[in-house]
Symmetry: D2
Subunit: 289 residues, 4 copies
């Protein structure tokens, strides 16, 4: 309605549309979470309640933004993958990033008291920043997620050993760091087992694999569906679908339960059994038993 001689300042906005056909990863990171987790006495190396809160916030983000096909979280970071055909906010980077960050933050703050009832939030509050990265093919996008999951493994093995040396071995941080300098994975596994009787393989999957969030449909038997559903479709955005069809799919997608699991997303198996993640076409709702 309003119209004034000052309106010309709108012309200074610069376009920030992310390139078409690209998978868009919006990654958020906790700001100053080292200090934040110390303030609230988070357990080391991993705090279950803290991660549960991260996961709850991520699931809320996926519920509110159906264009996100999969999310992956470790520590104080979460990556949200938007489908290559996504047209949300005309793919404008600032709108996408700010909406994801705002929604995640809102739920993190709001749900805090459910996860930490005994620890009221005080100022300064927890906040997150974010960025969007475009990946021009399924391979690149999967390599991005593989990068985060390998990071999860390497960091968690290190942290598990580091804190075992301190909590069980009685070392201080400096000594533990020195002990681990230059060690390989095998060395850390050996330290854990020989000194502390810890078999790293028995550690909880949530720490070894990180947290994967996606919509839950009936798994597809690898090989079985090859004819109908291309495992690695060259260009999914291509397939033209009628408005009615799109409407139906939206409803089925909305009905799908969002699930949190801790499993390998580097190998093909995860993706072959859940073709809907890459196709963004809803699968079969699992029968209730």
């Amino acid at each position: 309605m309003a119209n004034s001689k000052y309106e010309y300042v709108k012309d200074y906005e610069t376009p920030d549309k992310l390139p078409l056909d690209n998978w868009i990863v919006v990654r958020i990171d906790g700001r100053g979470f080292h200090k934040f987790t110390t303030k609230y006495g988070f357990e080391k190396p991993n705090d279950k309640k803290g991660m549960d809160l991260m996961n709850a916030a991520a699931m809320a983000v996926m519920t509110e933004l159906p264009d996100i096909v999969i999310s992956y979280g470790i520590s104080d970071e979460y990556s949200f993958v938007l489908h290559e055909s996504c047209t949300l906010f005309e793919r404008r980077a600032s709108k996408l990033v700010s909406t994801v960050v705002s929604t995640f933050t809102a739920y993190y703050v709001h749900l805090w008291s459910q996860h930490f009832p005994e620890l009221p939030l005080t100022l300064p509050l927890p906040t997150f920043d974010g960025r969007a990265v475009p990946y021009p093919s399924i391979k690149r996008m999967r390599d991005y997620l593989s990068w985060r999951q390998v990071d999860c493994h390497i960091n968690n093995l290190y942290n598990t050993t580091f804190w075992a040396l301190i909590q069980l071995g009685g070392l201080d941080a400096k000594a533990a760091e020195k002990e681990l300098a230059g060690t390989l994975s095998a060395d850390k596994n050996e330290i854990l087992f020989s000194r502390f009787k810890i078999n790293y393989n028995n550690e909880a999957e949530i720490w070894k694999k990180g947290s994967v969030v996606f919509r839950d449909y009936e798994l597809v038997e690898p090989g079985a569906s090859v004819d109908e559903t291309p495992k690695m479709p060259v260009n999914l955005a291509e397939v033209e679908i009628s408005k009615t069809q799109a409407e139906k799919e939206k409803k089925r997608r909305a009905k799908a339960r969002i699930t949190l699991q801790h499993l390998d997303i580097i190998k093909d198996d995860f993706w072959e059994r859940r073709p809907w993640v890459l196709s963004n076409k809803p699968g079969q709702i699992p029968k209730q038993t």
Copy 2:
């Protein structure tokens, strides 16, 4: 620490540094606030508790991000102005926007129960999106703020009259809209006064002027300080200051009270009496009386 064959995916991040020497305006907007304010029964045309919450969140953002020199809010939007010499996050747009949006959202959600103790937040939660716009001169940046303040005036006069027609005049929304179609400011003032004995000039400044947030130092007498402090310095980033000096200024800035006022920021007077807003050099802390 982690290093893997997948790390190359970092190369797909694209730079989004905002241009040097530019004032940066980060504006946030409530997402779906029409529905949101209806759900919580916000008063029409303006809800004082709702605006107080917006202002409280904005003041928290300014406290946490000292690079912001002034903020301006109306309705469900808030604009934060970062100084042209700001180097926060290397001026990366996504970091700046996401941090402002996340901080604002965190405080909005966290402080909600203080402003609406009788109305617990339910899902979906309130969220905000944001964008950053660079303005290459003080004039352009001030014109941006003038644009928002003129918008504030035009919208508020319309809304005040519209809701008077409904709440006091017994019209329904459609009839009120029809009544106002094509009217000028003078017409609306006349409707308010002749039919409802409302003198628009007596309406609260918070609705007529919007909310201006800035650091509070001793006002400078217009004209008095002209020799020392250029009213409209050509290039403030230019002035080289020593590290020690910068450290001192940072401390003085941190000590400054952040103030919320409702006044005209279109005319020169506001800016001339508060040279620190444009110079980002802390002024004199007001004497307590």
Copy 3:
């Protein structure tokens, strides 16, 4: 060597790297060529000497910039396709565009006198502008070229009929335009044949198909080579090759003759028989007979 207090101005350069993995199309267009071709009396609808000069300039560009895998020209425009794995100038848009445009212009001006010995160039000189567009998959890049070739067909059929009406039918431009308004391809073919005994199919390929420039190796029998060379590799940049191998390929590529042909590049056949265009791996040099 030089170093001064002014050197900071370099920081105002903004990065313009084109996204990784994308095919890059640099298209150049003649500036004001309508006026230019009139000035030198180019034949209508098509001038063979003018197109020969365009093609000669394009072949020179391809010789100097081996990262270009294929080029396509019609009228006063030429599109140069850089391979998705291209790292020339770190993929900086302005360097790529300006180098292609400068090289094309240099040859166009330099070779003019060979193609138009009787018509010395006078001021203002012919110039070209350019732009770079990234395409994230082979399909998109081929669709770009198909777009240009369909344009070529549609424009040439129209122009051929338009100028037949004028040159053979005695109409003026306005009447010819009116005659063609709303006609379909079949109508234009019919006009050409029934009124002027022109069978459009017999027109020269250079006008019907445009000009395709690429490196010349032995054609591959469709189907035959499928096992070794993926027809449509998902990600060619992926394949790691040793430095020695790269050096060898560079030499073979340099030896390859650059060929100009006028054929269909919309259908798969062109691409399947010349796998080196998409793979950027040199094929077999044709045996001389």
Copy 4:
């Protein structure tokens, strides 16, 4: 006219509008000019015919693109400054850069034979690349030009001494380089004078100052015009002028002679006496005598 199912590929073009209110510097650089100047036996340290050709090409560029207010050239590079209010090609970087580069190249190649009649151009031809850099204030833009002119001075003093040591002193390149390592300006002046009786101050201005190209109007007496024409206007784009006025100015600008001079553009004097360079408002055409 043409319209096909492939036309969607146009959506992959990305906007590259340069920011409003910014001065735009398009700098072009000779590609591989070290090799090129060796091939044609350019004189060392400076070749007058070569620089004359550069200057002739630059003057042609300024004639064809009246939005350029000043140009500055040294060696194989030339910088063209577009006025901050320039709207040419909607300020699209690729169009601006490619047009300047193409025009410069066309004239360089075309005028070659006039400057080097005895040396016909052979392949590969001379080419240039280019880039555009936005500067958000007069100060930044002038600092850019100062940077280039300081570079000119430093390089020319070095080169003059280096080649004196070789051509007059009988040293080889390696020995000359070693001799100059770590020397200051005063040292080089001393070497030139004591060993070769060369007073650097007496060297030609074209090499000491570089080449400045601008439109020629009557000089303004410094101080005299201060009241009417702001020396350093805050925002020139601001001033609204009528269409008729703009038309008149365009004609006067077209009539203005483009002049090539070799003078200091670092100090204020140049700019104060030629206010039209910054204002882009045509001045008084000098009276012919």
